[in-house]
Structure formats: structure tokens, C-alpha cells
Amino acid sequence: MRKFAKFVGASLKMTYREKVALFWMFLFPVLLMLLLGTIFGRTGSASITLGVADLDNSQVTGVITKRLDGISAFHVTRGSEAALRKQLNDGKLNAILVLNKGFQESLFTHKPGQATIYVDKSSPTVSQITSTALNQVMGEIGIGMAKQAIPNAIGPSDVIKVTEKSVTSSDLRYVDFIVPGVVALTLMTSGMFGLSIAFVNYREKGILRRIKVSPLPLRRFIGSELVSALIMTLIQAAILLLIGWSVFKIHINGNWFYIAFVIILGAACFLAGGFLVASLCRTQKTAEMATNAITFPMMFLSGVFFPLAILPAFLAFIAKCLPLYYLGDALRKVMIQGKSLINVSGDLAVIAAVGLVCFAAAVKLFRWE
């Protein structure tokens, strides 16, 4: 065990001292995430999409809705409460204003009219702006009406009483989408590159042959290489999650144990893939080309950057043939949507199967020289 740890330690040390590799392993994914998150993740939209359901359908409520239409900060959609609630849940609206039945009636009896706003809390900044803006607008309308339409009113705050309720839509923000995607992508690239290049390099230099004439068993050699690569990958994933959480405020709703499980399984799967490339390729050059040929299409076709829904059907089909799609999907569901491992068992099965097949083939085809 101590000897195993020594080899793992030596491998880690070697990786740590390889500054170019460190850049690709740590800085690149972070930059990628920051870039994509900043470009596409901007959520402070110019206008707030507001659904208005007028249940009272009275003269007074008519005036209010008309006023709302005139405010440029709001993009108003009318509809039934049920229809609007559905749109809110789907993330198509930022908030709904419901003017309750009996609104006008209350005012005539010198009571405030009842209104409810539902605000989507899934993006904190937007919900805060929405809520502030709505309350302010309603207040202003109230003051206006207190002066003109309802002279009997006691004070402006008594005109409209707003009850705020929050809703979390099932829609993912792009940042929520991109962070698990970049983590999955990183697990793939560092897994594929981590082992394949090192192994082929060792073979080309004759290090593998030198190891072969020592009593070190093959399984211990491969095992320690795998473990050290796995450790590096987990550190990478942790850094990415930390940035996603601190910079982009992604909602990690999932169970940490599940998240770790999916990450380790995904890393192991792609390490096995890299190991297979190492067994198949003779030179470092061919190994690099093969790894690029495998990782590049996966990077763009697996739906880690964009939801499959926006891809043409045949590309979506291709994505579903690639293991990275399943890792991205599982990671997203477990991390953001808080699903359990059972919910993503299909994804996990695909990842595990690909990993096992690659590993078995790699061991079978392994060459010392």
C-alpha cells in the first residue's frame, strides 16, 4: 500500500510539474466556463415579462392593467391565471400579477383591493428586480387612484394590497446548464488525454520495458496511474464547481454524495477510454491525433454547451450515441435538478458500460513496447 502510494505520489508530482498540462487541466476549463457563463449567462434582461390575470374584470382593474401596458419595463401578457401559472413554471414569464376577484368591490367598501404577485425565484437577481419594480408600480398606481378615481380612500397604501408569492420554475438558466456541461467536458478531456499521452510516452521512451523487467505487477502500475489521474480529475471538478457556485451562483440542489459518484464514474469511464487509446497507438503523435479525433466531435455534439432541444434532430440523435451526452445529462440532473441516482440510472449504465468495455479492451491490447 505504501509502495502504491509512492507511485501515485510520483505521478501526481510529475503532473504538477508539467506546467503546460496544468494549464489545460485547470486554467482552460475555468476560462471556458467563465467565458461561456459570461457571454450567454447574462440574465439581467431589459424588460420583465409579466403575466397579468384580471379576475375581477372591473372598471378599476381595467384601469390598472392599462397602466401596466404603458410601462416600458414590462412586457405584459394577458391570460387566465392557470395558463399564466404554467408559463411561469416553464420559465417563460418572470412574474404574474393576479388581480383578485372583488377588487373593485373592496375599494367601494374602503378596503384595499387584493392582488397577488408570483415571482420566479430561480434566478435571484431577476426575481429581485421584478419584485421591486412591480411593488413600486403598484404603489404608484395606488397613489394615482387615491387622488382621482377613489376620492374616499384613506391613504395610498390602503388602495392595493399586494401579496407576494414565490415560485421556482423548472427552467434552467444557461449557467446552470453550462456548469455541469463544462465539468463533464473536463472529465472527458483530462481523462482521455491524461492517461493516453503519458502511457504512450512511457512506452516510446522504454520506461514501460524497464518496468516490465522489474517485479512490479502490471495491475499495480496501471492502478496507480489510474488513481493519480482520478485524483487530478476530482480536483479539477471541485474547482469548477466552486467557481460555478461562487461566480455564477448556480443552484447545486443535489446530494453531494450522488454528485461525487457521477463525477468519479464519469472520470473513470473516460480514463478507461484514454487507456484504450494508449493501448492502440504506437506513437505520441498518433495518440494525440486519436484523442483529438475522439474528444472534439464529442465536445460539440454531445449537448454539453447547448441543450439538445435546439439541435436538429439528426444531431440530437448523434449526441445520444456519444457517452459524453449521458455524463452531461446525469450530472445536470443530479446537480441542478436534485435527482437521485435512480433517476439517472439509464445514463449511469451507459457510462459504466462504455468504461468497462474500454478498460477490458485496453488491458487485452496492452503492449509494453
Partner: protein, 304 residues
């Protein structure tokens, strides 16, 4: 029991008989050389013994253990320096030796080994900062890391300049004091003559002669060459009558006589000079070398 016993080893690569019926024994604590030109099959033979390759047929015993059956145990008691140098990027000399030591049940400390190969001052350097000769020394240190009974050195001085080669020779000589059995391959004649107790001469996958360097020379190329000048010059026919003279060659004022009995021939040369009123000078005698042995047996020089 000999340290190494090789019997009728064969290894073919397609139609090429890389090793073609090789048999030899290496005694305990002996420095044994396998000498031959590039492509003679030296490295292949060595790698089969080292458990790196499998023979098509033949038997090998190391310390009485069968290479095919006891490979694992054998790996604990042998130390191997391969032709390719071991070179982990980003590990220091110390760390590399330390790491390889961890592959064995018992290992010497990196500092002891660096002392042996005279590389103490490079202990903290990365391997890519070392010269070719220092590299070779690291790979020799790695071959000694498990304090092996038998050490295999595959062309340890190829590509090194003469001074550095001398340094490596000293290290190999010192292994004698550590009571190691050493097998060394080389295509440098001087190296085999200088280092080895016994030498096997190999060509085209076969061992064509085995013995101590002196034995081989006595057996295959016992002649000595005596070169000298004579003023004034004499006709070569005079020198051909000198006792023991087998061949006389004249070239720019000098002569070379090849002889089997140098003492008689030397006396004969001076007698001939006296009788012809000439003066013999610059007399030098050179014994045959393993190079001549190789030339004699194969009709070729060892290095083309």
C-alpha cells in the same frame, strides 16, 4: 552452479534468425561480455534472459531458476540496464531511483547508489538536465537499485565519448568488488578486452567463440606484428628469411613482419640488420586483439 546457463536458444523474427542456437554459461561473480557487431543478436539474447522476450525454443536458468517458470522471482534478483534510457519527465534523479526502488521487495537507498555511480551532486536535478553519460549512470544506478545478484548492461557506453566511456568502465569494474555477476554487451573491442573475464563473440545470431580475451587471441589469432625501420633499406626477400616470419610488408621506409614466434623473429631482425650493415630502429611489437580474432573468424571487421 553457474549464475547463468543458456542452452540452445532460438528466436526468429519472420525469416530472420535473430538468435540461432546460442548456448553459454556465466560463472558466479564473473564479468561476461557478449561482443559482436550491430544486429548480431546480442540485445535479443540479453532480453530473452531478462524475461523481456520469449524465446522460440531453448532453456535458460538463472541461479538455477527457469526463466519461463520463475520470471517473478528472477526479476527480484536481476538488475537491468536497457539500451533506451529511463526518463520520467519532471522527476529528479533521486526521485526516479527512489520510485524504481519501490518496485522491489528490497532496495538500496538512492544516496548509496548515487555514490556508486558518482552522481551525488546531480541528486536533485531533473533527468532532462543531464548529459548522455550522466544519463547512462542513472540507468546503471537503476540496474543496481534492488542490489541484484546478476546485472545486465546492454551497450552501456554506446554513443559516449572516450573519457566518459572510461568513467563507465570504472563503475563496471567496481561491481566486481560488490561481488556481482555482470553480463555486458558491446561492439567495442577495447571495452570487452578491458572489462571482461570472459567474452562470447557473436555474429549472425550465433556465438562463434567463447573464452577469456587471451584464450581467444591465442586460439584464433596468435600472431604478433613487429614493425620497424631499417636504414639503409633492405630487400624484403632478406626479411622473409628471418626465422618465424610469416609475412613481410614494406611501406614508406618501414617494415611489418607477422610472426608466430616473436622472440626468434626479433633476434632474426637484428641479425639481418647486422649482416646487411643496416640499422634497425623504431621496433614495436603488437599482439593481436579481439578485433583480429573477429576478422579471422568472420572475414569482416566488427565495425563496418
Amino acid at each position: 552452479m553457474p549464475a547463468i546457463q543458456v542452452t540452445d536458444l532460438h528466436k526468429n523474427y519472420g525469416d530472420v534468425k535473430a538468435v540461432d542456437g546460442v548456448s553459454f554459461e556465466v560463472e558466479d561473480k564473473e564479468i561476461f561480455g557478449i561482443l559482436g557487431p550491430n544486429g548480431a543478436g546480442k540485445t535479443t539474447t540479453l532480453e530473452i534472459i531478462e524475461t523481456l522476450r520469449e524465446a522460440d525454443s531453448g532453456e535458460i536458468f538463472l541461479d538455477g531458476m527457469d526463466v519461463r517458470r520463475d520470471a517473478r522471482k528472477i526479476k527480484e534478483i536481476i538488475g537491468v540496464q536497457l539500451q533506451t534510457t529511463v526518463f520520467f519527465d519532471n522527476l529528479s534523479v533521486y526521485e526516479t531511483i527512489d520510485l524504481f526502488g519501490s518496485f522491489y521487495k528490497t532496495a538500496l537507498t538512492p544516496d548509496e547508489l548515487l555514490e556508486t555511480v558518482g552522481l551525488k551532486e546531480k541528486r536533485g536535478n531533473r533527468l532532462n538536465e543531464l548529459s548522455g553519460g550522466q544519463h547512462k549512470r542513472v540507468s546503471i544506478a537503476l540496474a543496481l537499485v534492488n542490489d541484484p545478484r546478476i546485472v545486465f548492461l546492454d551497450e552501456p557506453t554506446t554513443g559516449l565519448d572516450p573519457q566518459v566511456r572510461r568513467n563507465i568502465w570504472e563503475i563496471v569494474q567496481s561491481l566486481r568488488e560488490h561481488e556481482k555477476t555482470v553480463v555486458i554487451t558491446s561492439h567495442y573491442i577495447e571495452e570487452a578486452e578491458f572489462l571482461c573475464d570472459r567474452v562470447a563473440v557473436m555474429d549472425y545470431g550465433k556465438i562463434i567463440a567463447t573464452g577469456t580475451p587471451n584464450e581467444l587471441i591465442d586460439r584464433y589469432s596468435p600472431e604478433s606484428n613487429i614493425s620497424f625501420t631499417m636504414t639503409p633499406g633492405v630487400d624484403t626477400s632478406v626479411l622473409e628469411k628471418v626465422p618465424g616470419a610469416m609475412q613481410v610488408v614494406a611501406s614508406n621506409g618501414g617494415y611489418t613482419i607477422t610472426t608466430n614466434s616473436p622472440q626468434e623473429t626479433l633476434i632474426g631482425i637484428f641479425t639481418a640488420a647486422y649482416e646487411n650493415d643496416a640499422k634497425a630502429d623504431d621496433v614495436a611489437m603488437k599482439r593481436a586483439s579481439l578485433e583480429d580474432v573477429f576478422l579471422k573468424i568472420t572475414g569482416r571487421r566488427i565495425k563496418e
